[in-house]
Each structure stands twice: as structure tokens, then as C-alpha cells.
């Protein structure tokens, strides 16, 4: 693992009685792309703005490399920033926007012109240098914002929901482009998003935030497959969620079904099962009980075909279990109203102690 480049150390931000970010610690390795993922209002943008220096921290430290920048004003932080709304200067052309940061650094005209040209090529905006922001599409504005932030060769790049103003198709394209550029320049990047798909698809590490706190930091696979908290399991990917009560061993009773868990639990707990981890079987072909799987009987209430997967709602006692099956050429052997057995591995039965 590369060395730490950005260290956010126990940072708290309070506004009078409201705590926006609470005791947040995060280490970003050099050259990596880290997502700050969470619902709106979770404090991820505030965290980004504290790293950029636009919002002062209430307590804690922010260190880049070996330099403590906690009290450094934003214009001396040497950090590139791309806003959700792009914030391109409306009175300046594309080239002037990109040249802005170079001019503040007092570079010569020839050097500025060369660097601006390089930056325009990097983000594929050739021929648009003399346009003004309002003459550009959302995607083009996004590229200008990116070029403007990158051309100053900052030590770090911060992206605040950079894709949320783009339509779905463009979003996928820009996602790949941003990732490409980030890897080509090997620039340490923090990426704020509320979109789990973006976070999982683009980033080396995902930091999930909720209510001003960090819930989990891990690789996309970690966060998805091994969520640390009930919130992470619920926020990243679809999930079934049931409440149960643990008795100190590794089984719980849910309605009439008895489920095995990977570890002993006690007190009130949340059980979570990913829809795509569940298999359906006809009653006659129920898998043998081997201690490695859980199973429960139910009735298919509704079947929804959504392209690459088929979703089924299975009624079990008073709960509904969402099940996803990959679409296959063989077709779907079940119909609405069918009695079935649902099964899933014990390891896929996630259990979280509820917070008091």
C-alpha cells in the first residue's frame, strides 16, 4: 500500500448546536481515488470543504504529505477543486478559465499558453478554447472545470458531486474519463458522491458516512460484501432487512424460520440479506440442511422483469423477502403464487447489533 498522502485526523465541525462532522479520521494513500459516500446531509461535502480550506474545522487536524494545513487559507493549500455546479467564471472564456490558476502563480505567457493547450487536449475540448461557459453543454463545462483544477498541478484533487448534474449516459462516460485521468496523473483524489454506483465503480477506497460520522472505510468489495454496520449494508446495494432478537448464540428465530448466523449475537439485532444472494427452489427440490445454508418457505407474490435481473417478492409469514435472479436463457421456472423454498448461505446472513 502506498504511503499516506492526506490524513484527516479527528476532525469535527459544529455549527452552534448542530454537529455536521464528528470526530472523523480518514487516511488517503498517495495516488488513490477515495469516495466519500453518504446520503445528503451526512457531512461529506462539509468534510471536503474543510480539506479545501473553505470551511474552518472546529477541532482536529488536516495533514497533506508532511504539512499540517489545518490553519492554512484555501489559496495557499495547493488543492484542485471541482464543484458540483462547476463554478466556471462566466466572464472568462474556456482558455481564460483554465489559465486562471496559472496566472495567479505568475507564470509566463508562453508557458501558460502551452499548459492551457495541454489541459484542453487532456479533457478533449480542442476547438472550444474561445467559447464562454454558457455556450457549453453540461459535460463540456465539467471538462473545463476538471482541466482548470488539474492544470495547476495541485498536490490533490477534490471532486464535489461532479457527475450529479449530468444525464445518465454522459455520467457513465465522464465517470470513466475522470478515472482514466486520475490514474494517468496518479493524483490523490477525494470524490464526494451520494451515488453508490459511482463510488463502487470508480474508487480505490470507499468511505461511507452517515450523520456526520464515518461508518466504514474499505475497498468497494469490502464495503459491499462485508458491510461493517447496518447503515452501510442498507445504503450500499439493495438489501432485505429484518429485526430479530439474539440469545447469545449464533441462531435467531425470524417468524417461523430459524436462521443460523456466522457469529453469536445478543440483544436486538438487524438481519440483512442481499437479494441476489438468495436462491429459489421448488418445494420438491429444497436443498438438504447442511449447516452452511439457511432456508425458509414462502409464496411468490410478484415477479418483475427488469432486464438483466428478475426480481421476485416472496411472502414469508408477515415479512416480504426481495429476491434477485440473473436473467438466463433457460427462462424463469416460477410464476406468481408459486410456493417455494428460498435459500442462502449462512455467510450471507449479515447480522448487526442495533444501536441503543
Amino acid at each position: 500500500m502506498a504511503d499516506a498522502h492526506l490524513v484527516v485526523d479527528g476532525v469535527t465541525k459544529t455549527y452552534q448546536a448542530f454537529t455536521a462532522v464528528e470526530d472523523l479520521s480518514l487516511t488517503v494513500p498517495r495516488g488513490k481515488l477515495v469516495a466519500l459516500l453518504g446520503p445528503s446531509g451526512c457531512g461529506k461535502s462539509t468534510t471536503l470543504r474543510m480539506i479545501a480550506g473553505l470551511v474552518p474545522v472546529s477541532s482536529g487536524r488536516i495533514v497533506v504529505g508532511d504539512r499540517d494545513i489545518t490553519g492554512t487559507p484555501p489559496h495557499r493549500r495547493d488543492i484542485g477543486l471541482v464543484f458540483q455546479s462547476y463554478a466556471l467564471f462566466p466572464h472568462l472564456s474556456v482558455a481564460q478559465n483554465i489559465a486562471f490558476g496559472l496566472k495567479t502563480r505568475g507564470l509566463g505567457r508562453a508557458e501558460i499558453a502551452r499548459k492551457v493547450e495541454d489541459a484542453i487536449r487532456l479533457v478533449h475540448l480542442q476547438g472550444l478554447a474561445e467559447r464562454y461557459p454558457k455556450q457549453l453543454s453540461g459535460g463540456q463545462q465539467q471538462r473545463v472545470a476538471l482541466a482548470r483544477a488539474l492544470v495547476i498541478e495541485p498536490s490533490m484533487l477534490l471532486l464535489d458531486e461532479p457527475l450529479s448534474n449530468l444525464d445518465a449516459k454522459l455520467r457513465d462516460q465522464m465517470r470513466n474519463e475522470i478515472r482514466d485521468i486520475q490514474q494517468r496523473l496518479a493524483i490523490t483524489t477525494v470524490f464526494v458522491t451520494h451515488d453508490q454506483v459511482e463510488a463502487l465503480a470508480m474508487c480505490d477506497l470507499v468511505a461511507v458516512m452517515n450523520q456526520g460520522r464515518l461508518e466504514q472505510v474499505g475497498t468497494p468489495l469490502d464495503v459491499y460484501e462485508r458491510p461493517a454496520t447496518a447503515f452501510v449494508a442498507g445504503f450500499v446495494g439493495r438489501t432485505n432487512r429484518f429485526e430479530a432478537r439474539g440469545r447469545g448464540d449464533n441462531t435467531v428465530t425470524l417468524g417461523q424460520a430459524s436462521l443460523r448466523l456466522p457469529r453469536p449475537v445478543s440483544g436486538r439485532i438487524d438481519i440483512m440479506i442481499r437479494p441476489h444472494r438468495i436462491r429459489l427452489h421448488p418445494l420438491t427440490q429444497a436443498p438438504a440442511a447442511d449447516g452452511q445454508t439457511n432456508q425458509a418457505r414462502g409464496t411468490i407474490r410478484r415477479i418483475t422483469f427488469v432486464g438483466d435481473v428478475i426480481q421476485a417478492d416472496v411472502q414469508m409469514c408477515d415479512a416480504v423477502l426481495a429476491v434477485e435472479t440473473a436473467t438466463s436463457q433457460a427462462g424463469y421456472p416460477f410464476s406468481e403464487g408459486a410456493e417455494i423454498v428460498a435459500s442462502w448461505r449462512v455467510d450471507d446472513t449479515l447480522a448487526f447489533e442495533a444501536k441503543p
Binding site: G80, S85, T104
Partner: protein, 292 residues
């Protein structure tokens, strides 16, 4: 409406109704303007070519005499230059003192903002006459300013019945107009632009000069146009604070029309004021175009 009829017949179905509606809605104000604004100006123009007899009676013969006399009289040329320069100075000073206030109000929120806006507008609720007399009390030889200055052994300075008094008084009186215009023009300002500038390494001062100021230029242009026009045409404040010693276009028009009873001269001077307004408006239009 009769003039609009052929156009209506030619217009296609989609265009017809909005056009007719627009014409109908514009008609009342068009009539009011024609009677209350256009006619008097035409009358004034006509008047400027008449002759005034020795006794002050109007002689209705067409002559360029008044125009020629004013155009060649250094007294009037100096007055035009003085009026323009003093008005420009007032406009500049008003801008300088109003900008920080407008900026502060624009950036504040909630109750503070409402209170500040009310405070800015409240002087407009008092007549300019009352406010001008207020300035007389403050600026006169025994006034507040000179009294305070005498404490530190300075003064007394002559702050009234000269151009200084007019500049001070009008600057204060024009501030609400400037502040409201600036705030109206701050629409393009988004603090994200300033944050972007800071993140690109520009110091707060550089950010203000290269981002904030250019983005607020439309408001500055509007406020300056408005204040310049009001300053040129202001009569009461220059009359009271100038004490009859500072000769400006507006006060001279009053003098010619009411005291000397030379209406053709008053008419010519009025037309010159109109020309100055036209020039200011043209300059404003050019400035806006350049900003686009």
C-alpha cells in the same frame, strides 16, 4: 390599434394573439407617455427656437439665436463641464461608499438582511428637502462636523454653500439608489466562483479584483447610470447646499425659467440636459454590450 391591424392580418395564428395582447397592454402607458412626456419635450424643443423680448414676453419667431448664444458663451460651456464633472464625482463617491454596504447586505441572510434593506430604503421615505436641511445643520460653520474638528484644533472648514456641500449631500441622498441597483446587479455573483478562485491560488484581494468585481459590473453600470442621471437633474439639494454660488444646469434652468423669465434659454438648457442623459444612456448600453 389601427396601425396594428394590418400586422395582425399578416401574422400567423400563433403570433397574432400575443402581439395583439402586447399592443393592448402597452396602449395605456403609451398614451400617458405621449401626453405627459413626449408632448412637453416637443413643446420645449419648439420653445428653444423662440425669441424672448426685453420684457420677457415670448416672440413666436423661429430662430437659432438662443442655441448659438449658449453654444458660444463660456459661462454656459463651463457650467455644462462643471455639472458633468461634479455629477461624475458624486457618482463615483456614491459607488465607493455603497459597494461595501450592498455587498454586505447581499451576503447576509434572514432577519439581518431584511433589517438592512429597510434601513437602506428608509431615507427614501423622507423628502430630500428635509435631508438636505439635515446636512445644512451638520456641515455649517457652527455645525456638528466643524464643532468636532474644533476640538482637535482643526478648522473651521467651509463645507457648505460650495461644491463640497453639494457633493457630500447628493452622495448621501443617492446612496439608496446605488445600493439597490448594485444588489439587483449582484445576481450573477455566486460565492462558489470566489471559492473556485481561492482554490486556484488567488488571494482574497486578487479574487475580488478578478472575479467578484467583474461579475458585479452590470450592477455597477446600472447604479452609476441611475445616480449620474439623478445627480445631473437634482435641483433642491444643489440649490440649498450650493447657496446660489455653484452654477449647475438644473439650478440655472430654474433661475432662467422662474426668475429671469427667459424661457427660450431655459428650454435650450433643458434640451442640453436631455442630450447629456442620452449620452449617458448610450455609454451604459455600450458598457452592457461589452460585458455580455
Amino acid at each position: 390599434m389601427t396601425a396594428a391591424a394590418p400586422a395582425l392580418a399578416r401574422g400567423n395564428a400563433e403570433q397574432r394573439s400575443p402581439l395583439a395582447l402586447a399592443a393592448l397592454l402597452l396602449l395605456p402607458i403609451a398614451i400617458v407617455n405621449a401626453i405627459g412626456f413626449l408632448l412637453p419635450i416637443i413643446n420645449l424643443l419648439k420653445l428653444s427656437f423662440y425669441q424672448s423680448s426685453e420684457t420677457g414676453a415670448l416672440v413666436e419667431i423661429f430662430t437659432f439665436n438662443t442655441w448659438l448664444r449658449i453654444a458660444t458663451d463660456t459661462f454656459y460651456i463651463q457650467m455644462l463641464v462643471r455639472t458633468t464633472l461634479i455629477s461624475l464625482l458624486i457618482t463615483l463617491l456614491t459607488l465607493l461608499v455603497s459597494y461595501p454596504i450592498a455587498f454586505f447586505i447581499y451576503r447576509s441572510t434572514g432577519a439581518l438582511r431584511s433589517i438592512m434593506v429597510v434601513l437602506v430604503i428608509s431615507p427614501l421615505l423622507t423628502s430630500a428637502v428635509v435631508r438636505t436641511y439635515g446636512w445644512v445643520a451638520i456641515l455649517s460653520e457652527q455645525g456638528l462636523v466643524n464643532n468636532l474638528l474644533s476640538f482637535i484644533g482643526a478648522g473651521p472648514y467651509r463645507l457648505i454653500f460650495n461644491a463640497t456641500g453639494i457633493v457630500i449631500g447628493l452622495t448621501e441622498i443617492l446612496m439608496p439608489y446605488m445600493i439597490l441597483s448594485l444588489m439587483a446587479g449582484f445576481g450573477r455573483l455566486d460565492h462558489r466562483y470566489e471559492e473556485a478562485s481561492l482554490s486556484l491560488g488567488a488571494s482574497p484581494l486578487r479574487t475580488f479584483l478578478t472575479v467578484t468585481l467583474p461579475l458585479t459590473l452590470p450592477g455597477i453600470a446600472l447604479g452609476c447610470l441611475l445616480c449620474f442621471v439623478i445627480a445631473v437633474s437634482a435641483f433642491i439639494t444643489p440649490q440649498l447646499l450650493g447657496g446660489g454660488r455653484v452654477f449647475l444646469l438644473a439650478t440655472e434652468i430654474y433661475h432662467q425659467a422662474i426668475v429671469t423669465l427667459n424661457w427660450p434659454v431655459a428650454a435650450v438648457l433643458s434640451m442640453i440636459v436631455l442630450i447629456v442623459f442620452g449620452a449617458a444612456l448610450a455609454l451604459y448600453a455600450r458598457a452592457l454590450q461589452a460585458l455580455e
